[in-house]
Amino acid sequence: MEPEWLKYATGFGMWFIGFLTAGNALLLSFIVYKKAYRYGRKMGLNEHNMRESVKASLITSLGPSMGIFLGMTVLVIAMGGAVAFIRESAGVGSIMFELISSRSGAEAAGVQLTREGMTAMGLSTILWTMATGSVTWVLVGGVFTRWLPKLRDLMGQGNPKQMAVISAAIMLAAFGRLLIADGIVPLIRKGAAAPFAAAVVSLVVGIGWLLWADKLKKPEMKEYFLLVAMIVGMAVAQMMR
């Protein structure tokens, strides 16, 4: 039987919100497109070149869209199709962010981020977490874009190498804690080896794939690193279950 939370998450209301969310992003895109084309002509840009850029953008968008299509499977399974549509069509888009906020919401609500473990209140907490965690991006992008050129000049005085080291340390702290909670704690407290194997296999495969891409000098391979690492990790863990 379909659980109660899934009915709420995949009902007409949620799909309607999905179309509203996607529609707003499409409306802005349409307006920007029309104005860019109009002022491009006024600026003396070649009509043929503008049409060629549309074609190139269509083709270039297909590859990442396939990655998003496959990546969002995770979100569809965990939260239902309508929520995945809302978040991926015009939310943050990064599957990593969506899972971090879902995981934080689930933890705060005391539920599991699985179909069986989810509850209606857990779903509500996750939706609040996704919204509060991503609204600042929209506001910074929307309200402050007119001042960004000045801010960029100001921040440019900083040391990019230092920023890179601090960013890596922050990510390692955050993902280290998540890895410990979901991969190492189940092994130590319950003797569950499968989640631990999932984490370790994905870690090793991920590193291997990235280093291989560097060695082959094919940076485009890196787009698929997360997908490959996760599929191999999940398959190994499922076999060990």
Binding site: V32, A56, S104
Partner: protein, 239 residues
């Protein structure tokens, strides 16, 4: 024609001041108005799923629970709210920035699309022509993204119930796999910090008794401060 002129064959012959005036006073001004308006509307739309559950099904977890979940999320992604718009502005331009921070998928889609569109049109990045072509490219990418995401949501929903349990069961391990892969990605860039994160994190999570929702902020700020201090002292500085 020399190599440079050939590469930038799409540049307009109008004087630079005239092109910049069009971008600043006409195009930019109109885009700022629409971008701000629709971004503010979007900031409200983002809350609709949660508000829908509240008003229709009377589901509200309470501000304390939302606050805890927000603190955990903000500790990880908070810096990116400010770093990303500033860092990507040069490539995305005015129109591209508004769409990108409303529609997401910046590094994996908007940046490559904008770069390819400008390359094909033969315009220089950061120029007025680059602004226009980048905006056209990013607008087009939003249409493709919407179609792909809608197709993904509908198709996966349709096939999920016919998938065998052995396949759907594997998704129980999705989170440890995701954390492992991303941890590995950053471990390549800062192995000493990866070792410290595990050495400090394992006893903290298992034995400290510190509330779970505070553990991420504690580790994030602790390692950020440590990395800053060590960098200033010239320790573990990448080549």
């Amino acid at each position: 024609m020399n190599e440079k002129a050939e590469k930038y064959h799409g540049m307009s012959s109008l004087p630079d001041e005239q092109k910049e005036a069009i971008i600043k006073n006409e195009y930019g001004s109109e885009i700022h108005t629409w971008g701000l308006t629709l971004s503010l509307i979007h900031a409200l739309i983002i809350f609709l799923p949660a508000l829908f559950l509240f008003f229709v099904y009377d589901l509200f977890p309470g501000w304390a629970t939302i606050g805890k979940a927000f603190a955990s999320t903000a500790a990880v992604v908070g810096p990116y709210w400010f770093i990303e718009p500033v860092s990507y502005f040069l490539v995305l331009g005015i129109g591209g920035t508004y769409i990108s921070f409303l529609g997401g998928n910046i590094s994996n889609m908007r940046l490559p699309v904008s770069a390819v569109a400008q390359e094909v049109a033969g315009v220089r990045e950061g120029s007025p022509e680059g602004e226009i072509i980048g905006a056209i490219g990013i607008s087009v990418s939003q249409v493709i993204l919407t179609v792909a995401v809608l197709a993904g949501a509908v198709l996966v929903t349709l096939i999920i119930d016919i998938l065998p349990k052995s396949v759907t069961g594997a998704f129980d391990f999705l989170l440890p796999c995701l954390w492992g892969a991303i941890f590995g990605q950053f471990a390549i860039r800062g192995l000493p910090y990866a070792i410290i994160a595990l050495a400090v994190g394992i006893p903290m999570v298992l034995f400290s008794g510190i509330p779970a929702w505070t553990q991420i902020p504690i580790m994030v700020f602790g390692l950020a401060i440590l990395s800053l201090v060590l960098f200033k002292k010239g320790i573990w500085v990448p080549k």
